[in-house]
Each structure stands twice: as C-alpha cells, then as structure tokens.
Assembly symmetry: D2
Homo-oligomer: 310 residues x 4
C-alpha cells in the first residue's frame, strides 16, 4: 500500500469543483457535462473535481452521482486527473462511490467528514483511517466546517497524513490561521498536497506555499484562475494584483444575486447556461433563478467579459 | 388528497424512536428488530418511529434503511402505527424511502430538513411543500436544529400545517420557548399533532397540551415512559413527580458514559444487548462500547432495575 | 458564613427583571423608577430584579447602574426583596456594584458569567467561587448562554450550590432539558432556588418544581404573571390553560414589532410609556421605536387590555 | 471635521496589541508598562495598541484602563503613535475612555462592536456613526466576531469608511475571504488602513495589500514581526519564507500550553516575566500559570531564542 502511494504524483494548480449540469432536479445533463469538461480542459485546468459542495452533491441521488462519475470520466478520457467526491454520512455509500470511481479510472477521491452527527477529533481520525483503508484510490481530506460543523484540526491532519492512502487536503473553511498552520505543520511532507477552496484567498496562500485552488469560479472562467495560479506560483506580484482584482470582480458581480445561501451556485449555473455550455437547472431544494435574477446575471456577464478582455 | 388526510387519526402517547439493531456496521440484526418490536409493543407504546436520529439513520445505506422498513413493518404486522423517517439531503432518496414505506403499509412519514446546506425559512417551506405533495403517506415535520443547523420557525410550521398532507411535528430542539409557541400557534388546529423528543421535557409539555413524546429511553423501558405519559395526560401530578424522577435517573445513569456525542445511543444499545433484546453494534463512524464502558452500563442497569421495581 | 446563608429565606413567585426607565441614553428616569416600582408592588410580585438583560444593563455606565440601585432600593423601601444584577466582565466593577447594593440594603445579587471571553467549566467554577467569597450578599447564578456563549453546566451548578453564599439560579437558556436536569440534580437541596427566565416556559416548569419566574412581561402586566404563577403553584391546570393563553398573546402582540433583536425590550418600554408609567427611551445602541412601531404597540395594547379584562 | 481627517496620516507596519502588565487582578504594573514600552520601541514597531483583547481589557475596571492610558502615553512620550481601545458595551464608558485618551495625547481610538447583545448590520452602522461623531480622535473599527458574535460586513465597513472620523479597521476574524473582500472593496480609498490581527496571516495579507499587523507575538519578539512585515512590504519572498517559519514556531511553542482559551495570553505574559520585562499576573477570571506550565514556557523560550539567533 505504501509503495502505491509513492507512485501517486502530487497535483498542483487549479482543479475546479465542477458544478453538476442537470436537466431537472435529479436528471443529468450529459451533453452539458461533455461541454463543460471541454471548456475546463481548454481553460488549462490541472484536474477536475466532481461531487463537491459546488456540485450540489448532497442533493443528488446515489444513482445520479454514479452516472456523473461515469459520464465525466468518459468525457475526460484520461486527459486530466479526475477527483471524485465520496462525501456521505453513510460509509457504505461512500465506498460504493469510491469503487465506481476506481472502475471508471478516476484518479483520486475526496471526502469531507460525515455531516449529521458532528464527530470529535478522535472519532474523525478513526473515520478517515477506516475509510482510507478501504478506498481503492488515494484520498484527499476535505475541511468544510460550515457544512459539517467540525474542523479537521491540524494535529489530526498531521496524523492522518501518515496513513499510506491519504495524499492531501482541500480546505474550504476560509480560516487563514488554520491554513497557515497546515502549511507549517506539513512543511516536512512535500508529498502532501494542500489546496484551498475560496478563490479570494487562493493567490495569497499559493504565495505562502499552497499547491493550488479548488475554486468555484474556475467553472466559468478557467483561464483566469489558471493565470492567477500561475502568477502566484511564479511569484509575479504585479500580475497577481491585476488578476486578483478581476477574480474579486467576478465574485462581486455573480455570487450575491438574490442573496440566497445558494446564490453562488445559482450565479455560476445561470452564467454557464447563458454561455451555452450547460443547462441551468438545480437539484431540489434549490431553484433555478427567475427571470429578474437571470437578467442580472446577463448584465453582469457582459460587463465581466469586457473586463476580462482587457 | 384533502379527504385522505381527514381520515388520518391523530396519534398521541409514546412513540419510541427505535434504535436500529445491527450485526455490524451496515448489516441488519433482523432477530433484534423482531425482539425489539415485541418489547415495545408489550411496553404499551402508541406507535414505532424508525429511521430517526436515535436510529443512526444517516450512517446507514439506503439499502439497509429499506430493509429495516420491510422488517419492522412485517414484525409489527399492523398491531401499531409505524412512522418511517425519510430524512435525507436528496429528495429522490427521501421519496424512494417514502414509497417503500407505503408499499410496506407503514402509517406515516417523518422528515427533518436537509442537513448539509442550511435552508432559509422560505426555502424550507418550499422543500416541505414539494416533498409532501409527492409523499404517499401523511408527513410529520421533524425539528432538529443541532444536526440540521436550522429551526423550522413557528410561522413556517403554521403555514405548512395548512397543506393537506402535513399532520404533525416532532421537536427535538429542547427549546421550551419554541415548543410553547408551537402549542399556542397551533391551538386552533386540533388535528395537528405536536410531539417532543427530549424525554426530560415530555411530562411538562404534555401537561401544557402536547400530544406525546418520541423519547429515546422508551426503547429500553417502554412501560416507564408510557406510565409517565399517562400520568401527564391524566394530570396526576404526584404520579408525574415519582415517574419523572425515575426517567431522570435512567438518563443520568446511561446516557453520559464515555462522554462521546454518541454516548446516548451507545448506552441504549449496550443496555438492550445486556437484556438480550438485540446486538450492540453501531454503524460507522460510531463504535460499540469497550469492556470498561460495558461494565459501567451493566452496573447502571442493575441499579435501574431495582429502582424501577419500586 | 454558612450560618448566614441559612438565615436567607428562599424566594419564590414572580420577580420581574425590571426594565430601566431612562430619560435619554445614559440618564435615569427617576420618576419612572418610582412609578414602575409601585406598579409592580401593586401587581403582587415577590421581588424586583434590577440590572438584568431586560434592564439593558450592559449598555449603562457603572455610574448609572449605581444610581438605579439607590433609587430602586429607596423606592421599594423594604416592602419587597430587591435583587441586583452585578454581571460585568470586570470582577472589580461587579464587586463595586455588589457593595453599593449591600449599602442600599438590597437583598441579593445576580451574576451571569463574563461575556467577552467565554470561560470553560473549571474557570467558571473558580470565577463564581472567587466572586461569591467577596460578595456581601447572597448570590444567584444567571445562565444566559445566548449572550455569554457558555452554559453553566448542571454539574457546575451542583458544585457551586455547595458554596455558602450561592443561593439559586436564574436560567434564561430556554433549554428545557437543561432546566429539568437542574430540577433533578438539585432536588435534595430545597434551599437552592431555581427560577426560569422565559415567560412562555414558566408555568410548565413551576408545575415540575421550579420556584418561580423572572419574566419580562411582568413589567407590564404583573398581576397576569402572578396569577399564572399562583395557578401553577396550586396545580390548577384549567386556570393555567386560560392564563398561559393570555401570556402567549402578550408576547405575540408586543415582542416582535420591527423584528429587531431588541424588539422585546422596545415593545415593553413603549407599552409602559403609553400607560404613563415611565419614559420610553433606550440606552444606545438601541433606539426608541419610531411612530409607525409606536402605533402598532398602541393597537396591540388596546387589544390586550380587552383580552385581559375577560 | 473632514479636513481634520485628511491630516491624520495612515499607519502601517507592526502595531502590537500590548498585554497589560499587572501586579494583581486589578493593579497595574507601572514599571512593567515602562519596560514593555521600551522593549517595543527598541524592537522597531510602528505604534502601540493598548486595551485590545490581548490586553485583557474587558476584565479590567474602567479606573485601571484609565491608569493604563495615562502610564502608556507618558512612557511613550510621543515617540510613537498610541492607539487606545475603547471597546465597551456602554457607550458612555467608551466615550469616557476616548476623552482620557485625547487628554493624554494618544493618537487614535479602536472599538469593537458591543459584545453582550449582538447587533444587526444597520444597528452596527448607527452605533459606529454615533460613536465616531463624539470621538475626539480618529477611530479604527475592530472586527472580532468570536467575542462579539457579529461580523462588521464589508458593505458596512465601506459605508462607515465614508464618515470623516473612521480611518481604518483591524480584523481578528481569521477569515481570509472577509479580509480579501475588504482589500477589494476599499481599494479606491488609499487612506483607509487595513490591519490584520492573527500573526499567522500577516505576511500573506500584506503581500496582497494590507497595511500591517496587530500581532500579539510582537509583545515578545517585536523585531521578528517587524522584519517579517518589512519583508512582506518589500515582497521579498525568500525572506518571508524564513521568517514566517519562525513566527509559526513561536506560536506553536508558546500559545497552546495548558490548552485554555487564555493560553495565548498566559504564554506571552509568562515569557515576558521570564525575560524580566514585566510581572506575569492576569486579571480575574484568568489565572497565572502554575509551576509546571511556567517550566514549559521556560524550555520553549530557550529553544526559541536559539532559533531566532540563527
């Protein structure tokens, strides 16, 4: 098992948390999946992460999640690493999805803690230990305390990183102290990958040593985020300043329309639909934007496209 | 649809949130299910609620949940109403379970809000509206904010109660102000049932007009809880004082061993195993008690049985 | 010290958490204090609690708090016990106020935990131990987790109750499980008084053994709350049902206007001003209601007075 | 008023949140204040911030806070800007302290939101508007949601920044998304200063445009933090990597001893006492470290001094 890990090469760069293209609440938009995969590959991303929070995973049936894994892996066809979210409150369902992912030749798995009962740190360690032992692919931890009600504390991450099949972590806590503690505590383990979720923080943590971003906005404008990552990796601070400003404007224009908790996903899906890439349906209990919000997205998109051309 | 509801007669009394007897993490203890059902029926309960929080539902695969519905309904065989929890983040999976329940001739469904994304009140209303329209059986709301991160506010309950297929609510918030607001706001709708989860509060809210309790301890000592409910319904305050004291001692002795978040479920399952009713396995990520904790449960049980005989 | 405590006779009944009549943000309405004290005494309350949450204490300067203690004690003039809130993040200021209270012949002190840093249970024990040792009057604990970010756990209450100068607790958590655990854990200490804050829960917990209520609505309608307490103490369940309904209507009509966090205090103060008892000013950062809200209070008051006459 | 602001020149760099040297719970260590001020000035800091969270302000009496203002301003004697925390739940007390600060020729004021009642955003705006109008010195906002239960949202900051007397913000939320939104929303107002509290994040946000850090560790090792700030301001990424590592080791060694909420302050005070700078007393309810913890601090200090020499 140990040797297997050593052969897994660490990822870096932008790995978009792919939205799930849907034709209806629990019906996959398979053409949308293909279009979106092409859009992302053309945009220069380093991998694709399906079935995360941005993918509305918890609102999808296990069957639809399975279908999405199959369709995405087929569409990607080995051109890029595919990371598959297996987060679920039932370990059986997580392992079922893990096996589907392996069968479809995905490259890695990603799991947030169970999110109904909040686990303590010792239980969290045991959970990931048990999960990783049964996972047929390398596993990334996914820290997402606003949804799971628990942080995977730095000490727990450190201990988990010593298990052969755990290869990295994605942090969506937005907590800068936490992320810098991770960078510090993991500094002697260069094979362990640290990705950040919130796009607003990506450049600054890559400057400090992070491996990349799992940034939602990269669904829409993959090149912009790849360019910002590259500038941060190259420590080109002038370029960062210019591109960071554009990234902030994307979020400001698109993620707060309607002021729902789900505005961010709705904004992204509506924008992708307006660009002809995929359908804008959401899984229940979220609803697609109504016409007034759609028009706001359209206006925002036009302004952003002008901005991004410069 | 409207007429169907009118024919559903309101429940009252003690409806235990049944623990899920397991032989292993995702393997049902079918003999345990039968034994436990007989134990509960013999104890005089008014119904059985499966697949709630005490049932470790979120840690069970959909397949095991389905199996539990079938086994329980078969074991009960129409002697009592069976209420089936369909809480899930995916509405498709909730409806799948709802249909299994209807097919097995269960009597009603129970659903807490989706628990990954926390919904606002308008979204919560729409969620329950959509769910209840597609449910083949009457639906109970399940307020469980510590796990779902949202309260179903009294105004939302009032609006939802006007839908034809929503017949009651179980509140596990432990919030006494909330529960008394529900009693007040629903006072002109005598068909809407209000049950409380925490057993410590049961007698006091039944005195004030609640319909009963979905009390975890009734898995172990159903008669005790039925007696306390009956005393409260009969407004026999001396009897209440005597039995409430016993209920408090059960919790004090059994629910805090080991000081895990899951101590309450572990204590109940270990005690039921020691009484020969079912196996003490828990679904991952929870673990069965080790020997020192089991011995504490055994000592507690012996003291409680002496107490309850008097 | 121990003997001193034994001579303090336990309180019971309704002890209103008095609003602080103000002429401006930090200027006491001394005529209002006198009127309000007479209104409360005429209403049959068992004591008066000044400088609690309803009294906007944290928004008042130490100097104004001192003035309020002096004016209230003078106005009450020994006719009733006066309880003085000394809650502060600085123990020096708490003790200063405690000494003012003793000098003015107040009867007891009330203190919630410090509320900037949230203390752990051992620190909380030490805090109250140190405070009570230096307090010249008996001390009540005040559990108020929504403001202080910490519960005084039942085990901590039990340990603190063994100190000679700690004589009771007021619980404003609204947590019914917590309150019933207190009733259980303190059942062998009949001298320790347990009061509940939220008026919606008062009757139900008095039925189960609580000593009374520190209910905000009693500022406005003291007789109503005294009658409800008396009915609960006499276990007259028909009377309780009738009066509980009226109490719920008071809150429904008055506490939600404008939907601020401070609506409850604003509603009470505006109603008292409309009844000619005291001025309706609030301490900054809260603002007095504007005309549209005042008119809503006036309409509500008229309906309530009709209701209460029946 | 507007013109006055224009003459206030924006601060940048390291402004330590000074611990409050105490001889006992509410007794100032005036020699310690002088020693510490010299230590900080020698360390090259850009200003000194007294009466923040690290200063245990809420646990100090108003009288002691006043004494600290006088002693610090006298000790600094105009060599550096002094920023004075006036955070209090009572606006009268805040303004009293603000006037003491002005009289002592301090340079600016700092205020977190009131922390007993949590205010909504409109109330927060009004609070700061009223406060700043009456403040005789420029005012910094202080975002500290873990203690105050409320974020000062970016839109509220933007609106407040347009008031003449509000000149900057210190953010101690640790939320990287929030801080980058502030950098973005305030980018067209170069006179508005943005400081970060947590030292772990300081270099990364200064790289992205922040003005400096109000970093607790700078009490102990001011040069280290000044050097790190200078490296970040100069965008010297190799130097940053080297110094950031040292900063992380300081925190790892000193801030978690004993695992109290207050370990960070206790570690700093004990270390300063061991270096002979000031006494290690804390204000109640916090306690000074016992001998075993003191010895751990001593060992940590020796290792850190070796590390910092290299």
């Amino acid at each position: 098992m140990e040797s297997q890990t050593k052969t897994y090469s660490k990822l870096s760069g932008i790995i978009p948390p792919m939205i799930t293209p849907l034709l209806g609440s629990d019906k996959l938009d398979t053409i949308g999946v293909r279009n979106l995969v092409e859009h992302l590959i053309k945009g220069g991303v380093s991998g694709i992460f399906i079935l995360g929070t941005t993918g509305e995973t918890q609102h999808l049936s296990i069957k639809l999640r399975e279908e999405l894994i199959r369709e995405t892996c087929q569409a990607v066809d080995g051109r890029l690493p595919v990371l598959v979210g297996i987060t679920d409150t039932s370990m059986s369902e997580s392992l079922y999805l893990a096996n589907v992912a392996a069968e479809c030749k995905a490259n890695a798995l990603v799991a947030a803690p169970p999110y109904y009962f909040a686990l303590g740190q010792p239980e969290l360690y045991e959970y990931y230990q048990a999960l990783s032992e049964k996972c047929p692919l390398p596993l990334y931890l996914y820290n997402m305390p606003s949804h799971t009600k628990v942080m995977i504390e730095p000490d727990t991450v450190k201990r988990l990183s010593e298990l052969p099949n755990i290869v990295g972590l994605k942090d969506s806590s937005a907590n800068g102290v936490y992320f810098h503690k991770l960078l510090h505590i993991m500094k002697d383990d260069p094979d362990f990958a640290l990705f950040v979720g919130p796009e607003e923080m990506m450049a600054s943590v890559v400057l400090m040593g992070a491996d990349g971003g799992v940034t939602g906005g990269a669904n829409l404008y993959p090149e912009l985020f790849v360019d910002l990552y590259n500038a941060a990796a190259a420590k080109d601070l002038n370029k960062i300043a210019e591109l960071q400003e554009k990234v902030m404007q994307v979020g400001e224009a698109l993620y707060g329309i309607g002021r729902f908790g789900s505005s961010y996903i709705k904004g992204l899906k509506t924008a992708l639909a307006l660009k002809g890439i995929c359908c804008d349906s959401l899984a229940q209990p979220f609803n697609t934007f109504q016409m007034p919000e759609k028009q706001k997205v359209q206006v925002a998109l036009m302004q952003l496209e002008t901005l991004l051309k410069n």
